[in-house]
Each structure stands twice: as C-alpha cells, then as structure tokens.
Symmetry: C2
Subunit: 358 residues, 2 copies
Amino acid sequence: MKVHNFSAGPSILPDFTVEKTAEAIKNFAGTTLSLMEVSHRSKEFVAVMDEAIAMFKELLSIPEGYSVLFLGGGASTQFCMIPYNLMAKKSAYLNTGAWANKAQKEAKLFGEVVEVASSKETVYNYIPKGYVVPADADYFHITTNNTIYGTEIKEDMDCDIPLVADMSSDIFSRPIDVSKYALIYGGAQKNLAPAGVTFVIVKNEILGKVDRQIPTMLNYQTHIDGESMFNTPPVVPVFAALQTLKWIKEQGGVSAIQKMNEEKAALLYNEIDSNPMFKGTVINKEDRSLMNICFVMNDEYKELEKDFYEFATSKGMSGIKGHRSVGGFRASTYNALPKASVQALVDCMQEFKSTHVK
Amino acid sequence: MKVHNFSAGPSILPDFTVEKTAEAIKNFAGTTLSLMEVSHRSKEFVAVMDEAIAMFKELLSIPEGYSVLFLGGGASTQFCMIPYNLMAKKSAYLNTGAWANKAQKEAKLFGEVVEVASSKETVYNYIPKGYVVPADADYFHITTNNTIYGTEIKEDMDCDIPLVADMSSDIFSRPIDVSKYALIYGGAQKNLAPAGVTFVIVKNEILGKVDRQIPTMLNYQTHIDGESMFNTPPVVPVFAALQTLKWIKEQGGVSAIQKMNEEKAALLYNEIDSNPMFKGTVINKEDRSLMNICFVMNDEYKELEKDFYEFATSKGMSGIKGHRSVGGFRASTYNALPKASVQALVDCMQEFKSTHVK
C-alpha cells in the first residue's frame, strides 16, 4: 500500500516528477550517463536549465525586467542575501511565524529592522492586518504561507515600497501578480522539487543600490550574470523542478492548480468544522492556509489525540503530526497531493467519530 | 554503447551509487515514498545522514575534535565562509589555479591577504615550492588539486598556522592525515555525489575566534550545532554520497582507491610520454595530478587536434576536451572511472599514432 503523504516538507511531488527523475538518474537525455554525472555545461543540461527558467516565467506570467534564479543554500541563505543586497539602512518585516521571525532576525545584522506587526503572542494563529509599513524602509518582507501554523496571505498585497516575499510553501499554488513584488524566493522542497535548490524571482532594477561589498556567491547580480551557472548548480533538483513545471502546465497551469487546491482544502476544512471531535487552530477563517491545514481535537476528546494519530497512521496517513509548537495535526495539501488522499483522511476522521461520539 | 566518462565535474560516479539512488528515488528505504518527498526529519533519512557522517570519519580516519558537515551552496560559498569564520586580520593563499585565485579574491573582502606564491604567469603549469607562509596569518589556504591545469599537491604538508584545503577534486582519492588540517572542504560533484552538496571537515577549536557577526547560515557553528540539519539538507546528494562512501569501503578503502588511481594515471601518463604525437602540459612530473590528466598535441601534429578529438569521441570517449585556458585534452580519472576506460583512451592514442606517424 502506498501511503498518503501529508508531509510538510520535503513533501509529495507529482508521480511524473518522480518517474522522470528516476529515469534520468539512470540515463539522462539519451547520453547513456546518469543525470548525476553529466557536466552542467553539456548541451543536454543547459537545455534543462533554460527550459526550467522559461517555464517558470511562463507559468507565473513573469513580466519583463525580472530574472529567475536557481541557487543552492536553501531559503535560509536568502534570509541574509536579501538584506545584504537590498537593505541600505532600514527594512520592515511582518512577523507571521518562526520562519518570518528568522528572516527578520537575520536582517538585524545589516541595519535597522522594523517589525510592523506580529502574531507571535498567540502562537501565530492569525495574519495581522491594519499595520503601517514605514515609507522610508528599503523593503517590506512577508512570508506568504506559514507552514507550521497553517496561515496564509492568499492575495497579492499593494505596497508602496519594494515587497519581498518568502513563498517557499505556496509557490505555484495560485496565480500571482509578480509585478507587485520586488523579489520572491523559496526553497523548492514543497511544491516544486527535492530539497537542495532555491528559486529567486528578482526585479533587476532593485539591485545595485547598496554600498556594502557583497561576497560573490551572495550577490544576486553574480547569478543573474551567470544565468544560474556561475558555479555548478544542483542538477538533480533543477531537473526535478522542470518535470514539476511540465506537470503543472499539463494540469492546466496555476489557475487549474488553484481550483484543485481550493477543493481539497474545502473538503478537509468542512470536516474539521463539522466533526465535533476536531477544531481548526487558525482563529480567522480568511487566514486559513490552502497548503497546511492545522487542527487539534476538541477539549473533550483531547485524550484521544494519540489514538487518532495511530488510527490514521494505520490507514496509511503519513506526516500528519502537528508541529510541536502547535500540537495536534497538520495535513499538508500541496499541489501534488491527490484529492483522494484528502478524502482518505476525511474518511478516517468520520470513522473515528462514528466509533467515539455517541 | 555506454560512453567512457572523462568529464571534469560533474563527473563519473560508481554504478552502485547510480543504481541505489535511482531505486531510492522510486521507493526510499521501504517507505513507498520517493527519496525526494520524505521528511529530512524522518528516522529513515536521519539514519542516512548519520551513517554518511560516520563513514566519512571512518574512511578518512578523522580524529576526535573534528566535525563533518554537509552543506548547500557549493565550494564557491566556502570561499567567503572561510574568511568570515577564520580570518581576524590576515590570511595567506597559494595561487595554483583559477579556483585558488577566486578563493583568494573573496578573502580580500575580509582583510589582508598575502599571496605566498603563484604560478599564474605560466598558466598554472606547476605547483610553486619554497615559499614562506607568514607566521602571523590566521590561516593558510591551498587547493590540493587543480582540475583545469592537471596539477596536484599529493602530500599533506606541514604548516605552522592553521591549514585550510579545498579538496573538491581529490577528496577520497588517497589517505590524508586530517590532523594536519584545520579545515578541508569541497564540492561533492567529483569523487562523491551529484552537484548540490558541499562537505566540510572542520577542527572545532579553530572556530569562535573572530569578532565579526556572522550570518547564521554562513556560520560553521550553526551547522555543527544542527548536525547538518539546521535547515533542510540536500537529501538526494547526501544519499548519493553515502552510496559512494559504501562503494569506497567495498573497494578496500582509500588506500586501495589510491593504488587504482596510481595505476590508471601511470597508464595514461606513460602513453602521453611515449607517444610522439602528444605531450603533457604540467612542467614538473611530480606535480602531475592523478585526477585530471592534461595533454596537448606536439607542435608538429598541432593541426590534428580536432581530428583526434573527433576520432576519440567516435570511439566513445566523452568529456576529454581541455579547458579553454589550457587547450588540448583533459582526461579526468576520478575514483569511479574504470581502468578499462583509461585503456580505451590509450588505445585511441595508439591507433591514431599508427595512422598518422610514419
């Protein structure tokens, strides 16, 4: 029995991506060599990189004047690259979770950081609104989806200063208006590829405005000039990302993906809201993530949490344990998760209710 | 026909590594999930990371007091991490090639850099000797193998100050006395794994001696404390690295590997030295690399260079074009390259001679 993969990340990828990558690991593009052992300068791999960048631009309708980069080092490295490259004196951050908090902490090494709002005191169970972004900050940083807490900023916001977004866990889950952002980045290991590659979409004109000397590898301009080939790129993750992009296109693009994500999320949130044993952890329904659905047992059933976890696991649910800071359960419903997996989890919840609720 | 893979990097890996990785991409450790889509915190992947670190230590006989790290970002990121972490005021570099030069250039962002010697003026065709390392430098940086030029420092040197070595292209090619080094690092894509993971062997006591604030991801201590799991590691390359380490052990360890490398190199260097059509590019034989064997056509046969390239390619030799700065040919004979591939190249050289030399 293949398990239902609800892991928060690394997480489920399309079968197409898995199959094509396994094939290429054995024999890449007819070279008789493994994808792991061909030169990144070979015409076969250069074609992969070029196509991955082109499809990234096509699927997200990225306007002229933006570059798409594939880098190593994870989104965590971006936490320092962003202020290194963009922060002359001051930046603004919205604190919506542990990762947003880490990004903000890192920026403090480079200058003044204004936290415009935070939901930390209530374990990040909502997205703050009504805050003021300082007009003299060099950029405003947001984390669009907060994996641990199940909150998401699902609309592209208007911002008077350059907007920087960590979209590690919701990229390609919906259409985005890239023109509203100065920079979008994320680790690939949720909706795109295995861990080991980080994507960056950067508006070229925002670069070159800080005085500090930037180490070569931390300078976005290095990678723009080198077309993500300044040094050897992570070839396997880039290849896998291309397969996922092809799969997204085959599904009908990000609008079709969004519709599927909304259906999957509605199915599970409806069960959470109607099943007397469970409740969602996010206090405002409009802040609920379509990617990570967090729920706990209602107080009167609290002692059955371990039982439900074991029951669901026995039925093939994998990776549904909530993060330790929230507790309970987290079902990550990334693009590649089939609706059938969500239905299987809902079936578990209903069966568990029928056994325990009189 | 499977080609003979002489690529300089990414480069040939053991069939064992290729097969085991392809299997795990489909079904990792019996989880029914792909290696690409399992949590890096799963017990199955934690076991991979732990075993990779343990085998690294075992195969290189790494003494107590050193940490082994698997990081993203490539060796190029190490060029700035090293001075960030180790250079209080001054460092010393040996300039033996383009990569050594890049490392040195990066260090200049952090303080005074002394170039102790350089072979740049003769396109790096030898390893300088008899230089003096300043006693007051914080460390001395060397590049043990220079992929582009085919030179190699094949013995562990004694150094009165902390010795830092880029071993990207000769790690695991011979036993090394790790105790003579403060830090050894390298991209994995030559003798170890696909591109996307960088290994670092660091003596713990050399850290914590600089005053500057170090960005979290650039701080070695972060990754020591996090046991290479501070952020999501590049899971596929780490898994592949473990398979290669198992293969090295199966071959009899690095001493056995060294013997095979010496035999392969002797076979090809003998042909280069005895065949009137060819000559080696490295001026001192003791500096010749066992990993990258660079040669050109003798002056009277210079116009046949393209012909030989095409002839060898037609016989299945892949990746033998020399780097543009050296010209001619480069046969990379990394650990996983079978002796039969070297023999096939030697056969090409002999057949070409019998056709063209009267």
